[in-house]
Every structure is written in C-alpha cells, then in structure tokens.
C-alpha cells in the first residue's frame, strides 16, 4: 500500500480548511488579511530558494514581484485574459527574467550580488515608470468583477487562489530542499568552490534557483493589481515588500523549507493585527526590531531555536 506522507496530508488539510473558511466565514476582512499573509508567504518561500537554500542574498524581490504585477496589467490591457492565465504568463516572464538575471549576475557573490539585484529592481522600476501602456508613473486601474462563479465574493476567490498558489510554492520549495538538487544548493551555500571541485554543477543549479525564485515572485505579483485595483510603480516596487520577503525567512529560519512558512505566518499575522489595532507604521518598526533581534540572537531563526532546544534536551537526557 502506498504510504502518504504527513506533508501531503497537511497540504490537503490546509486546502480543506481554506474552503471551509470560505464557505463559513461571513467576515470578509479575514480574506483580505489572509490574502496579504499568503502573498507574503509565497514571497518568503521564493526568496528562500535563492537566499536560504543557495546562500545568494537577493534585494530585488520587489522587482520580480512588480514585474509579475505589471505583466498582468499589460496583458489585462491588451486582452482581458482570465486571471489564472495572467498568473501563468507572469510566472513564465519572471522566471525568464530570473534566468537572465542569473546569467548576468551569478558570477558575483556576497554583497556584490545583493547590490546587483537591488540595481536590477531600480532598472525595472524606471522602465515601468516610463511605459505609458501600463499607466506609467500615473498608475493603472483594474476594475474587478462584482460577482464571481462558485464564490460569494471576488476577495474570497482571490484568497482561495492565493492559498492554492502558496501550497504549490511550499511543495516546490520542499521538493527542492529535500531532493538531490537541494543538497547541491546547500553545498553551494556552504562552500561554492568546494562544491564545484566535487563536481556539483553550480551554475546550472544557481540558474534553476534564480528561475524558480523568479517564477514564484511573479506568481505572487500577478494577482496584486486585482487585489488593490490601483497600482503605480511606487507601490509595486515598494522597498518594504522586499524587506518583508527577506525578514520572513530570516525570522522563520532559512535552512529548511518550513522556515519561511513559519516566519511568514507569524510576521504576516502580527502585521495584520497591528494595522487594525495600533498603527500601520509600527509594522515597519516591528519588522526592523524583530529582524535585528533574530539576526543578533537567533541567526538560524525560529526553526534554529527549536533545533537547539531539542538538541539540548536530548543531550541533557543522556
């Protein structure tokens, strides 16, 4: 009899919980807040593929996210294609840009690579700002349908869509992390020269890594214009988006696939609660303070803390 792993049971349960929530909950605010948290989750997972598994820190997350959003806008202006098609195309476009960026920048390492990705985001922002077809600097509006089939509201549909996309991204990330490829990526992170000497195809793996990161970021960005209904370069390329995408895996833990998931759920939920209780600006403070605290006190994130705790208990029990 085929053995079904706990992971897949968890995925099915999460999906079922999402559908139950959509069927039961009257409070639309939950779907809006949930959408933002899940968007953050996809971005965190995407960032971690390159930043966590491969060890290449990327400051250009907002760039890929915004390209995904603007690909959707461009195609929506051209022909009002279904959202799912827009997401797939945005994913492909961002994947290709990730691949191209990888070719151009992966010879750089450490801080130089990080700066190159930041510069790339600025280049794309300038291009979008001057591209009138997608609204240019004045921004673009998207009118969303008042009713959607099978769902009570548009945001309910968006929430379920984001949930499905998140689960797919988590599954891909887990596969990458646990497969032979994941071990190759980890070897690059630990010592790229040694990995190369041992016959690990480092360039190919890094390109796969940047491409997967690009696809996931694009997938997270494509539905964004339909969520906010108005998008301009300043909001799409917002540095806070990039900071969140880095902070979430750092807080959760970058070495394992579930680290960014924990970080995104925790930080995303706190941010949503703070927005409607204390102050939105505190969000930025919270991200900053929590990030500094984790970098200084628990560089391996929450997952690392638990691993240390479990190890100490084991050692203490001997």
């Amino acid at each position: 009899m085929m053995k079904i792993s706990g992971f897949w049971i968890g995925i099915v349960l999460m999906l079922a919980a999402g559908f139950v929530l959509a069927g039961v909950a009257d409070n639309q605010f939950l779907f809006f807040a949930g959408y933002v948290i899940l968007q953050g989750l996809i971005m965190a997972v995407a960032w971690n593929v390159l930043g966590g598994f491969t060890g290449y820190v990327n400051f250009g997350s907002a760039g890929f996210f915004a390209i995904g959003a603007y690909t959707a806008i461009a195609l929506h202006q051209f022909a009002e294609l279904p959202l799912l098609v827009l997401i797939v195309i945005a994913g492909i476009v961002c994947g290709l840009i990730g691949l191209g960026t990888g070719y151009l920048t992966l010879r750089l390492r450490g801080v130089y690579f990080a700066i190159a990705t930041l510069a790339m985001a600025i280049v794309f922002e300038s291009l979008i700002t001057n591209w009138d077809y997608v609204g240019g600097s004045a921004g673009a509006y998207v009118i969303t349908p008042a009713e959607v089939p099978f769902f009570d509201s548009f945001i309910e549909m968006m929430f379920i869509l984001m949930l499905v996309l998140s689960l797919i991204c988590v599954a891909v990330s887990r596969y990458l992390s646990m497969s032979r490829m994941g071990r190759g990526l980890a070897s690059i992170r630990d010592d790229e020269t040694a990995a190369e000497c041992m016959g690990v195809p480092t360039l190919r793996l890094k390109l796969i890594s940047t491409t997967v990161m690009g696809v996931m970021m694009g997938v997270a960005g494509a539905p964004f214009p339909f969520f906010v209904t108005y998008i301009n370069p300043l909001s799409a390329f917002d540095l806070l988006i990039a900071v969140n995408a880095i902070a979430m895996p750092m807080i959760g833990g970058t070495a394992v696939w579930f680290g960014p998931v924990i970080g995104a759920l925790l930080l995303g939920t706190i941010q949503q609660i703070v927005t409607v209780t204390i102050s939105s600006e505190l969000n930025i403070l919270i991200v900053g303070v929590v990030l500094i605290a984790f970098v200084a006190l628990a560089p391996r994130g929450i997952v690392g803390l638990f691993q240390d705790f479990a190890r100490k208990r084991r050692e203490g029990g001997k």
Binding site: G139, V228, N232, V276, S279
Partner: protein, 414 residues
C-alpha cells in the same frame, strides 16, 4: 477585602459616568460611526495627520451642537501608512467588523482608489479627500471629491495658469514634471492646455521624483528660452526648483504651475523671498474673496490644535478641505434625516453646500461642477517669517476671476 474591591469598582463606574456625562447629556442613542483609513504615516503622513486634526475638530463641533440626528458622532480610523495594499483590508474591516454607518476617504489618489471597489460593493456614499480624477474608471455615482479641481481635473487644474499666459500674449512653454502620479497628471493637463492655446512647447521632459538639485534641468530649460515654465513637482522638488530658479535668474516671464509643497507653512517660511512673483496653484489663501463663513474660526482651532504635533502650522492647504468634506456629509445626514446612502447620494448631487471653503457643488462625476483651483502669486515675501502668510496680500489670487484678489506682477523677474 471583598467590600474594598466592590468599593473600588463602584468608584470606577461612577468616574466613567461622570467623565462621559457632558456628551451623553447632549445626545442620546448609539453613536454614528464614520469610518476611514488615513495616511497618518508614510509619504503623505504629515498631510494625513493635519487632515485628521481637522476631522476631529469637525466631530467635536458637531457633538457640541448635539451630534447628527441627535446621536453623537464617532470617528473610526486606521493608519494606512500611505500604502495602497493596506487599504482594501481596512475598509473591509470598517464595513464588516466595525459596522460603521458612513465612510470617507483617506488623503490622496493612491489610497482612495484601492478603497473604491470595496465601498462600491457596499453601496456606500464615499467622500474623497484630494484624489485626482479617481472616478474616471469607476464611474461610481455615490463618489464625491472635495478638492476643487473641476469636472476635468487634470486639465482644469492648470487652466488658470494658461489663461494668464494667454492674457499676456506668451508664445512658448517649457514643461517639466516629476515621474509620479500627481505630477504626471498635472503635466498631462498642462500639455493639453498648451496645445489648446496653440503654444509652442519647447521643452517637455520628466525627472525622477527624488531629484533635489535642479540646476542642470533649469539650465537646459533656459537654453530653450521659453516664455512660460510649468512645473509639476513634489515638495522636495519644488524647494530645489525655487532655489535653482533664483540662483540662475530665469528669464521666463511666467514660472510655476503645479508645484506641491509651496502651500506648506514650513516650506514657505524656508524659501521666503525666493518665492516672490512665482505663480502657483493653491486651494485657499487669506484673501477677502475667500473669507467664507467659519473659515477663520476653524483655522484658529486648527492652529491651536496643530501646535507641537509636527504638522502644518498654518493649515491653509489640506485641513479646511478635510473639515469641509465632513461638513458635506454632516449637512446631508441632517437634511435627509437619514443614513440611507441612496438618499444621501441624491441629496449631495442636487445640493450646493455651504462650507468653510465656500459653496460646494458637485458635478455628475463627483468632482466639483466648476473648477476653483486657484492660481496665486507670491508677493513681498520677507525672510524667515511665518506670520506674514496669515496676512492678505502675500499670496494674491490671480485666477479664477470670480475670486480674484489682485493683478499679476509681471514678468517673473524684472
């Protein structure tokens, strides 16, 4: 011990009753909740805070007079940090969880637009605060915007500036705008006006919104020798432009247009005499023609409340409009004796409201039926003196003719 606890509870309950008794005695019933998100932090944070002060003054004024429909008014708001992505969730919470009775907008196009679909689906009347042409896509018949840019906002905004150019027989124009939402809409309108007036556009370029040093740009403009220079700029740009214009000694005869920031107390004080003769847009300045009932009283209250809060000390630019859009809502509720959005929208469409910013009449698309965007000229400004801007005459209203307070000093630099 038990007796002591009961005694403390009784005293606490009495204190609460006493503390709230002045308001409760004047009004009864459940408060009318007015919900909104506000840009209290982020790029537009300073403006948003000053708007909130004005809205709180309105709330207190109304509650002192017995509230609306005999019920106290309560403001329910969240900071959107000038971030569009936060807005949909906030308005959903306001409508679904907080169950507000009425909604108004945050400050600025970026944060008004994302609220529109949510508000539209709830069928609520939506008063907007300084959104530029937000409704052109949504076409929502219950949206009303208080900034007096007129039915065709982008073009009407700069119409007065180009009317002055026409009256003076000027022929060529240079247009420069920051690469961001408002500035690009402003220069788009300026371009349309220039073409309409058959002006020769000798320079038409954008600059990044982060630009602070404008010497190279103004040199390039100077080289084209235009009669008019129209700028669409944000506060930091505007400061840089005024400084560079004075250093270079521009030869153009009419300079200014759509420069944001030159309405703010701190920037006006900082630039001082450098502002003289510049012609720029504004919405309210101290002038005999703009002394509407209640404005002076409102400004006194605002200036007292604003002290020490890090917001605009004069409050001439945004606060009166934040007070006025609440007045429109309040007057509509009182007149219809209802919170029914259909009735309120119908009433707002057909009514001319008397507010602190003068008579307000909305057109079909929810913008002002006729533009009252002012073109003012800075005159006789002295260095380092904030109080001078409270006086009439330092900002002379040139356009529109209906509220004109003086003639233009021409050309820009003699």
């Amino acid at each position: 011990m038990r007796f002591f606890r009961q005694l403390v509870l009784a005293i606490a309950a009495l204190a609460v009753v006493v503390a709230y008794s002045p308001q409760v005695s004047a009004q009864s019933g459940k408060p009318i909740k007015i919900g909104f998100s506000m840009a209290l932090t982020g790029v537009l944070g300073a403006g948003g805070k000053s708007a909130l002060i004005a809205m709180e003054i309105w709330r207190d004024d109304v509650n002192k007079k017995g509230g609306l429909l005999g019920r106290p008014v309560e403001l329910v708001y969240y900071d959107d940090a000038t971030t569009p992505a936060k807005v949909p969730a906030i308005y959903t919470k306001l409508l679904n969880v907080d169950k507000v009775d009425l909604v108004v907008s945050s400050y600025g196009t970026d944060v008004i637009a994302p609220a529109m679909p949510i508000v539209m689906r709830s069928g609520k009347v939506f008063l907007g605060l300084f959104g530029l042409d937000v409704n052109h896509k949504f076409k929502y018949d219950r949206y009303f915007q208080i900034m007096p840019a007129g039915p065709n906002p982008a073009q009407d905004w700069s119409r007065g500036f180009f009317d002055i150019a026409k009256e003076k027989g000027l022929k060529s124009v240079a247009i420069a705008g920051a690469d961001a939402e408002f500035a690009q809409n402003a220069v788009k309108g300026a371009r349309a006006n220039a073409k309409q007036d058959k002006l020769n556009i000798v320079y038409d370029k954008s600059f990044p919104p982060s630009t602070a040093d404008f010497t190279p740009i103004l040199r390039a403009i100077q080289a084209t020798n235009p009669d008019i220079i129209y700028f669409g700029s944000y506060p930091a740009n505007s400061v840089g432009i005024v400084k560079a214009a004075n250093e270079l000694g521009l030869k153009a005869k009419l300079v200014g247009g759509g420069m944001v920031g030159l309405q703010f107390a701190a920037i006006m004080k900082n630039l001082g005499p450098g502002l003289n003769n510049l012609v720029n847009y504004d919405f309210w300045v101290p002038a005999k023609t703009l002394k509407f009932p209640g404005i002076e009283e409102f400004l006194k209250k605002y200036q007292a409340a604003a002290a020490g809060k890090g917001v605009d000390l004069l409050g001439h630019y945004l606060p009166p409009w934040a007070y006025a859009y609440m007045q429109v809502l309040g007057q509509s509720v009182e007149a219809t004796k209802s919170l029914d959005d259909k009735k309120l929208a119908e009433y707002i469409h057909k009514t001319t409201f008397n507010t602190v910013v003068g008579p307000v009449k909305f057109g079909k698309n929810g913008e002002w039926a006729t533009s009252r965007a002012l073109m003012i000229q800075f005159r006789g400004i002295k260095a380092n003196n904030l109080d001078q801007f409270k006086m009439e005459g330092t900002r002379v209203v040139l356009k529109p003719d209906t509220v004109k307070s003086g003639d233009i000093m021409f050309p820009y630099k003699k």
